[in-house]
Subunit: 375 residues, 2 copies
């Protein structure tokens, strides 16, 4: 693996007879966008056009094509990188982006996680065991009700308590009142228990809105933020993570074109490179069928990959996980994980506090067993 090339692997649903022509068309589509015969300038031919590095049959049908791009054509810009990788290809429904390899200089210019798993753990004072996370929901509850939930979760010992990503600046639950009340509620619980959870409010909107929301949250003492990069724009996320580098950034997977872009490439490689400290994604066996064990393993490997000089981001498997699956999840991901259980905590007969304590206890116990087993 050369560290100075930008590589992308595509699946083309194209048979053997046409694959060479289509691979050649794709390298033009993703760069110069003119008919091959009209590319006459020697600099363009030599320094701009990507190379077809390999073509091989794909086990799932069609072919895999690897393109090697000159990194300079990305202008080291987060939006132009997406354009080069999948701009016009987004409109070619027989093309999917399977994998991305960033050259080191490009990865460093994007910045990667400013805290990563280690920084989040330092913030929480929890160096090794699996972390616990839940969401404030459902949309429609008033700020007082959400703040009460936040307090309950904090007293139960949850590490990170995030807004549901559907919580916006709603008339029935305004952003500022929600954030103020939830943060205070968590601080009150910390005063009682001596252990401080992190509250991560959800930012959503256009850039001016995001910056106003961020500034307000920071004023209230918030130190972790949830955002869905694909909803606000991945380049916007990169800018937020760069500008507010003292905050822990949790990335939510919503509005991503799964099926057209492989989760490992998008959530694993790109979300991490663009600055996510922790990445939420659906774990296998939940509500999202495209996420099987192999996908979750690949994605996690990319979040943790030591190369490129980027910090490791924390995997946060979610998407309908039940308390009953804690042990299985810790076995699958190992201890460097944050388990996000949402709706499942509201089910059943037990009061929320008891059920949340049960979740926390199971995660701590599973982590302890994993630590013993590996010792």
């Amino acid at each position: 693996m050369r560290s100075d090339s930008l590589r992308a692997v595509y699946r083309l649903e194209v048979g053997t007879d046409r694959i060479e022509a289509r691979a050649d068309a794709l390298r033009h589509e993703q760069s110069v966008e003119v008919p091959p015969a009209t590319v006459r300038d020697p600099f363009v031919r030599k320094e701009i056009l990507p190379r077809v590095e390999s073509i091989a049959p794909d086990p799932h049908g069609g072919h895999r094509v690897t393109l090697a791009f000159p990194p300079a054509i990305t202008a080291h810009d987060p939006a132009q990188l997406l354009n080069i990788l999948f701009g016009n290809a987004g409109m070619l429904t027989d093309v999917a982006l399977l994998d991305v390899e960033l050259p080191e200089r490009l990865a460093r210019s994007l910045g990667g996680p400013r805290h990563g798993s280690a920084g989040l753990r330092a913030q929480l004072g929890v160096p090794e065991r699996p972390l616990t996370c839940t969401a404030l929901k459902p949309m429609g509850l008033r700020p007082e009700a959400l703040a009460e939930l936040a307090g309950t979760f904090a007293r139960a010992g949850l590490d990170v308590i995030k807004d549901d990503h559907g919580l916006a600046d709603h008339s029935f639950c305004p952003f500022e009142e929600r954030v103020r009340r939830c943060q205070r509620s968590i601080e009150a619980a910390a005063d009682e228990t001596g252990r401080r959870a992190l509250y991560a409010p959800n930012l959503i909107g256009s850039p001016v809105t995001l910056k106003r929301q961020l500034a307000f949250a920071l004023e209230q003492g918030v130190r972790a933020i949830l955002v869905a990069p694909m909803l606000v724009g991945l380049p916007v996320f990169a800018e937020l993570a760069r500008e507010a580098s003292d905050v822990i950034w949790l990335a939510h997977p919503a509005f991503a074109p799964v099926g057209r872009v492989a989760p490992a490439a998008l959530y694993g490689t790109l979300f991490r490179a663009y600055g996510a400290d922790a990445v939420i994604f659906p774990h296998a066996g939940g509500r999202f069928a495209a996420f099987d064990a192999a996908v979750c393993r690949d994605l996690t490997e990319r979040l943790r990959r030591p190369e490129l000089g980027l910090r490791a981001a924390l995997p946060v498997p979610a998407g309908g996980m039940r308390v009953e699956r804690v042990e299985e999840l810790v076995r699958f991901y190992g201890p460097d994980v944050m388990l996000l259980v949402g709706g499942s905590l509201h089910e059943g007969e037990d009061p929320l506090l008891e059920r949340s304590r049960g979740f926390v206890a199971r995660v701590h116990a599973a982590g302890a067993r994993a630590a013993e087993a590996s010792a």
Copy 2:
């Protein structure tokens, strides 16, 4: 069609036995994100949860499900609207978003085109005939070479001359030098011919970069801008169009998840509502197979639809169109269209100026014939 509901039509690749349960799951997924049994709050049940309005077999397989959302859950925010329409659904690979119907108040709050087709025509002084457009390319040319192309196209009588959307702030072709030279070149041509073309530079980057690029372009006298909303973030595009409302905004279709979101819904309904004055998209028979005649017709109908109090946006069919197809395109779209021909102008034996003049003459003649036929 009630104007006070937000409706979305989805295709679910689900058979008759499971479709009711999946439709119910989808309305929870796109709003409260908790198991249905845990939705106990009466306000949430009544005012937050979308309704399944209809379920019908889809002629292409599976079923069509229409959800009616309470508009308040969008918070009248451009990012939250995307979240409600296709946030978690983006990760459900058996769900595609086929259509969107905006309630009038939401559409008005998004703003729509500030100029639209009529405003672009007023700017150009061309009230009725089909407009002509081309792109400065390929990526890799120096600013001087692009400016020379711009001058040639302007002298040939092109109406709008846009950057290729792959032109970023490259080391080999910096944004500011490119924009300054191209705008001057077009102005010099206008001094010669007495007819002023519009130059539309491409903005690409994170919000801080976009705003710097926009300010520079405006200083240089630029009055039209190209941007790819999905690359920079659709909510960012909405903010740009709102804040720089004196500029004509051309939207490029790159990085959209075609296959997961129908082009008519995304480019026709949402791009227009978010502020595009003109929308570029691939026409049938070019390089993008998903765009057939029916898709292009639907998309165009949504750009022009008179309801909702939004201005009509101009369709800009493109994607490998050849000069030889001018008459067919004018027949298909009628005269209120802008034909974008790029690479095709560089092909063949004739000098670029002649070939560009030929394109312009064919469009004017086809427009005149269309006007006669309809008189």
